[in-house]
Structure formats: structure tokens, C-alpha cells
Symmetry: C2
Subunit: 421 residues, 2 copies
């Protein structure tokens, strides 16, 4: 559909000539002479352009044949654009309005043209800046419940779900990245790792921590084998864009079938890391304390809204081969169905804590770090924040079945912060 | 490759003309004039012919486009021959010599030509006849350990395993049968069910048993979602052929990725049902007691050999992305790897008991019954045997995490038998 084949990466200068005769572009922007193009990709994998004119704007996202975060030495298949496209259409249908609209997908060029979200910013930046987002927790909790429930055997026809499992099983490369980068690399002396030098002693402790490593491998097995639902697969605060009133989820190229707790735990783990990073960004008397408390409250809201929405969908939309209505509601035993729900939520919860704890390690000791910590310039201050996050992550991963409520996790997190200061 | 297209079922009379110019046939049997053909299929789904001549014999197995057990009113895709072929080649390579040799597969005719096992009989018949098989437990325990271990992420390259998951995800139809026939049908008034009339009161109790139904749905979710390894998928005593010294596993058309405990539990559940059926077949003083004890011992051997062989493979062959060697052995912590093994074996064990307990219900209250019970002509006597099997199955499914050893299960089973007589 696009002007050139085979695949060739776009550049800001070549973009108008190459995309200038696409109705998906000209219909929104007018003719290419009036376009302004900026490359804004700050992720790890892709080119991202904002194309604007006096009448409109779009985002053009193109996969690169290597991992941008590492360079051309780490080649990476362009297929991920294909998987992202299929994930976006599915996730978007499961929680309408929570993902950017997709205007065009071109498989040969590994390219998507999509809605330009404005005035949205990446949530990580908002959390570093100390901005409050009143509706965020509700939006994200509901998004997680709707996409995870509706992509599972509790909702989908089993033949359709199996066809989808087969389709997304092809996303091997990006899954393989998750599997190694998350669950093993941080726990041994892998050359891809890096860490704040002042954490050297901590690193030694982590790599000798048998219980933590057992937890990491148990969570890895859950991730690899439990094809419970279609995950976003990279559900951190860098994959969320926010405005004062709106929340959108972007970047689904890591989509894969996996356990529901993975998306939930990735998000919660990143919120708890954002909490521990606050001490590096602002003093308590400059609103740091209040903002930290708000982040804890945000995590609680995400989980509580998730539980409420998931329970609602369970009672009102449940079907599929795992629904079990023929055994409970249809035999006048709705209580049995509620007990099933409790069991499932308990599993999602302990999984989420396990995945959160591992996420809090791999973002500090592994390859891909997060701006919340990286922007703390002073090394000892950064290391202190990271140490607290590691301490919390360790308890969450190892003792994931010991926490009954998210209030207990908030207590753990706040307690580690208080004792350290 | 075969003489006719499109697909057409073979008949004893047409088989020599249709297969008479295949070198896979004539090389083993000589020219078609000398063939003797018998149709022997007593399974639920397929045509099975034994073709013999003075110089050799083969088995010809052809899928029918409907479920033979029900009739043409239940149409069924011929694809299952394709999945069986792919499963046989994989399982056969993982435990060489334990499956029949495959001489030819013709996808268009849904047909396999394979080794004729002689003097083997179906294990169920041997168990009804009261025959002892000294090497059987070791063969089956080792077969389960080797196929389940080597088909998992503990052994396979992750990209290859994912490609296989995608391939077998296509076996939707037969998986769907398992999913409903096993895990839900027996627990509600499904028209496909049947049961010995004298069990009417028991059926009412089962369908009101909330804990049992919760267990059934939990096991269903494990089966549907946990893509741990390539299962045989129909690993009961009707899928095993035995001679005095040899054991072979046949009929892999239900192959699917699923939890290791499924094959283990299917087999154990069928052994325990064979135990409870003995009272219908022979009096204690006619050797019934000794044979019953041998069946319990057989189940114990299967599990103990499974554990020993699985542990050996774990220590000597473990690799793959779930192996975790980089975290344990490579950091001089072999004990960590042993703890991982214990955790995995504990999960396989409780899964196996759960699946066994459900199998013991669906074979008595669902669609597909077993000869061990069906050949007990006197109804009240049959019902008594079936009632004891249901009582044991219920405890195994509901309390699957409460049994530490298989000796405890033997005690449960023997205790139910003793109290009832």
C-alpha cells in the first residue's frame, strides 16, 4: 500500500514523500507540503513520528529491524508490528476508547498510522513531575479487568481463543525477551545487565537469594505456560498516556497469551517504583509526602476497581467453556460461582504480586531501566531509592501468597520508606 | 498417495484394492491377493484394520468423519489423523520404542499404516482378565516422565515449543470434547450422559456437591490454560497395549499442550477404577484380593518410577528457558535446583490426583464408559463397584492437595473397598 517496497525505515525528511498519497494521511492532514514531522520515539524498539498540519495530526509508528535500545547489533524481526496490530484491534474492542484509534496498518513497512493523543504525556513523566490524575486509577483498573476478562476462556468461544493462542504463539521473539530479561537476567551476572554502581553489595545479596530466585523461576513458568488471556505484555507506566481527564494504553507489541496477573503486576510494580523514586525528585515539604501517598492510593484504586469490574463481568458476562454456569447458576447455586470467582481473584492477586516483585528487580538490575530512577542525577540518592524498591520487590515476590489485601502492600511499601529515612 | 481422492472410508473388502500398490504394504505383506483383512476397531472414533499375510502384518487406522461411539449424527473433523501423526512422531522420539512404528501417513485419507503389535492386547482386557504384567509399571512411569519432561520448556527450545503450541492449538475439536466431556457434563443433567440406573441417588448427590464441582472447574481451567507440555491427551488403560514383557502406548489423536498431571492422572484414575471393578469380576478367594493389591502396587510403581525418571532427567537433561541453570548450578547452588524440582513435582502430583478424580466421575456418569465396569452384567453389583470409585474420585478431586504420598491414596482406595464389603 505504501510507496516503497521492500521495507525501508522512514526519516522525518522522507516521510511526506513516502506517505503523501495515502488518504489516511491527506484526509486528516491535507496535502504533504503542509506537514511538519518530528521523530519523538523514546521507547526501546521503534521509530515514532508526530506529523502535524494546520488541520490535524497523526502518529506514525514504524518498527525497526533491531532493538533501538541496544542498536543494530541486536537484530529484531519486524513481525512485531503485525502482532501489535492484532493486539490493538482486540484490546481496543474489549475496552473501547482506552486505546488510540488505528487509521492504517501496513505489514510490509511494519508501520501503523494512528491517532495523535494530545495533550497527553507518558504517565512516567507525569509521575516524575508530581502531577495528580484523578480518574487514572479507575480507568486503568477497568481497562485491566475488561481486557483480561474478555480475552480469556471466561468470555471467548474456545475455538476462537485457540486460534488466537496459535496466532500470538508466533510472537516468540518478543516473548523470549520478556522471559529472559524479566525472570533470569537480573539474577545472574548477565552481560546485558547494568546497575547503579553503589548497589554492588545489593547485587551480591540478590544473586545469592535462593528464595527470590525460586520465586523468579516460578513466575517465569507461570508466564511461559499459563495461556489464560491475551495480555498487553508491557503494561508499565511508559505504556500509558495521560491527560488531566483521559487515559490511554499504547504499545502492545509484546502482546502474548499469558496469566492475568502479569499485566496487573507490571503496572502495580511500576507504581510502587514511582513511589520509591519520589525521594529523588522532591523533598517532603515540597509536597513529596502527599504525592507519595497519592501514588499508593492510585495503586490501591487500580486493584480495587479491577476487582469490582472483574466481579461485575463475572456475574453479567461470564460464558465460555470455563464459565461453569451449567454447574452453578443453572443448578440454582450462584454461591458456587462466587466461590469460583474468589479462587480466581486470589490467584490473580498472588500472581500480580509475584510479577510486580520481579519487575521491580529487572528495572533496577537488568537491561531496561526506568526514567523515574534514571533521572535522579546524584548516584547515592538514586541508589538509596532503588535499594528500597528492591527490598519491597523481594518481599512481594517471595511472600506473594502472604498478602491478603493491597492495604498490606501499602503498609509494606510505606514502612520500608519510613524506616529508611 | 493412495488410490482414491477425495477421502473415502476403507472397508475390509475394498482395502486390498485401494492399498495394494503401496510399497509400505507390499514390502511387509507381499501382493494383495494374499492379504487377510479384519476390522477390529473398538474405540470411539476410528476404523482399525489388521491386515495379515503369510509373511507379515500391519495395522491400518483411518479416521471417520463422525464419532463412531455416537454415530453420524456427531460429525467430527478428519484433522485428528493429522494431529495424531504429529503427536506420534514426537512422543515416539521422546521415549523410543514405547509407541508403535509408523510406516505411512496419508493426510487426505486420514490414514495411518503402522506396526501390528502382537501378541499384545489392550491393557483394559488384561486387567479384566486378571493378568499380571511385571514390567508394566516401570514402562509406563518412564514413558510419562520422558514424554512429559521432553515436551516441555524444561527441555525444548522455546521457539520450537511455541511453534508446536500453535500447531496443536488447531486440535480444537478433540480438545473441546475433553473439556466438556470430562469436566462439566458429568456434573449436570447433560443429555449425552448415561449411568447405571441404580446410581440415581449418587447422581443427585454429585450434582449438588459444590466442592466437587469447584474442583472440576479448577481442573478444567488447568487443562485449558496450562500449556506445560505435549500430552498424549487420552492416556487411559484403553490406550495401552501389553504383552507379558512389552508395553506400548497407542491412539494419540487427543494430543494437546496441557499440564503434565493430566496424562499421569488419567492413567492413575483408570488403574484405581480397574481396582474397584475387580469385585465385579472375581471373588476374593479366586485370587481377587491378590490381583486388587497388585493393581494398587502398579499405580504406586507408575508414580514412583515417574518421580525417579523425571528427577533424573531434571538433573541430567534440564535446559530450555525454564531450566534456570544460570541461577542455580551455575552459581554453585544445586540445592536451589532441587527445591525447584520438589515444587514442580508437588504441582504435578496434586494436578494428577485432581484429574484422576474427575476421570473417575466422567467414566461412570458421562458419555464414555469403560469395559471394566460395563462388562459387569449384574446391575446392582456394577453399581456397587461404581459407587466406590465415585467415593474415591470425589476425595481425590476435592482434597487433591491433602495427599502427600501415593501410599495415602492406596490407603484411601483400599479403605473404601474394605468398608463397603
Amino acid at each position: 500500500m505504501l510507496t516503497r517496497n521492500p521495507y525501508e525505515p522512514l526519516r522525518s525528511e522522507t516521510l511526506p514523500a513516502r506517505l503523501g498519497n495515502l488518504p489516511e494521511m491527506t484526509g486528516r492532514l491535507g496535502s504533504a507540503e503542509g506537514w511538519r514531522v518530528r521523530e519523538v520515539g523514546d521507547g526501546n524498539l521503534n521509530l515514532v513520528f508526530i506529523v502535524e498540519s494546520t488541520i490535524g495530526s497523526v502518529v506514525v509508528k514504524q518498527a525497526l529491524p533491531y532493538a533501538r535500545v541496544v542498536g543494530e547489533s541486536w537484530p529484531m524481526s519486524l513481525d512485531r508490528a503485525f502482532f501489535e496490530y492484532h493486539a490493538l484491534t482486540r484490546l481496543g474492542a474489549r475496552d473501547p476508547g482506552r486505546l488510540p484509534a488505528l487509521h492504517l496498518f501496513d505489514e510490509g513497512q511494519a508501520l501503523q498510522i494512528m491517532e495523535h493523543l494530545s495533550p497527553h504525556i507518558i504517565l512516567r513523566r507525569g509521575l516524575i513531575a508530581g502531577t495528580f490524575y484523578p480518574a487514572l486509577g479507575e480507568h486503568l483498573g477497568r481497562y485491566l479487568a475488561r481486557t483480561l476478562f474478555r480475552g480469556s476462556d471466561l468470555s471467548m468461544d474456545t475455538a476462537r481463543r485457540k486460534a488466537d493462542v496459535a496466532l500470538f504463539a508466533g510472537n516468540v521473539e518478543l516473548c523470549g525477551i520478556t522471559e529472559d530479561l524479566f525472570f533470569t537476567d537480573p539474577f545472574w551476572d548477565c552481560p546485558r545487565n547494568r546497575h547503579t554502581p553503589a548497589l554492588a553489595a545489593q547485587v551480591t545479596v540478590v544473586r545469592a537469594d535462593r528464595d527470590l530466585k525460586l520465586a523468579a523461576l516460578e513466575m517465569k513458568a507461570r508466564f511461559c505456560m499459563c495461556a489464560q488471556t491475551l495480555l498487553h505484555g508491557d503494561m508499565h507506566t511508559g505504556s500509558v498516556m495521560v491527560s488531566d481527564t483521559d487515559t490511554r494504553v499504547i504499545d502492545a507489541e509484546f502482546a502474548a497469551y499469558g496469566p492475568m496477573g502479569f499485566d496487573v503486576g507490571s503496572l502495580l510494580g511500576n507504581l510502587w517504583m514511582a513511589y520509591f523514586a519520589q525521594a529523588g525528585h522532591r523533598a517532603d515539604d515540597a509536597g513529596g509526602d502527599a504525592y507519595r501517598s497519592w501514588i499508593l492510593q492510585l495503586a490501591e484504586t487500580v486493584w480495587e476497581v479491577f476487582v469490582a469490574e472483574f466481579s461485575l463481568l463475572w456475574r453479567t458476562e461470564r460464558g465460555g467453556i470455563l464459565g461453569g454456569r451449567e454447574l452453578f447458576e443453572n443448578q440454582a447455586d450462584p454461591l458456587g460461582a462466587e466461590l469460583m470467582l474468589h479462587g480466581l481473584l486470589a490467584d490473580i492477586w498472588s500472581d500480580a504480586l509475584g510479577f510486580a516483585g520481579i519487575e521491580m528487580h529487572r528495572r533496577i538490575l537488568g537491561l531496561a531501566h526506568i526514567p523515574e530512577f534514571e533521572t535522579i542525577a546524584e548516584e547515592e540518592r538514586r541508589a538509596a531509592c532503588e535499594r528500597r524498591a528492591l527490598a519491597a520487590g523481594r518481599e512481594l515476590a517471595v511472600h506473594r501468597r502472604a498478602f491478603l489485601t493491597i492495604a498490606q502492600v501499602s503498609d509494606l511499601v510505606a514502612g520500608i520508606e519510613a524506616r529508611a529515612r
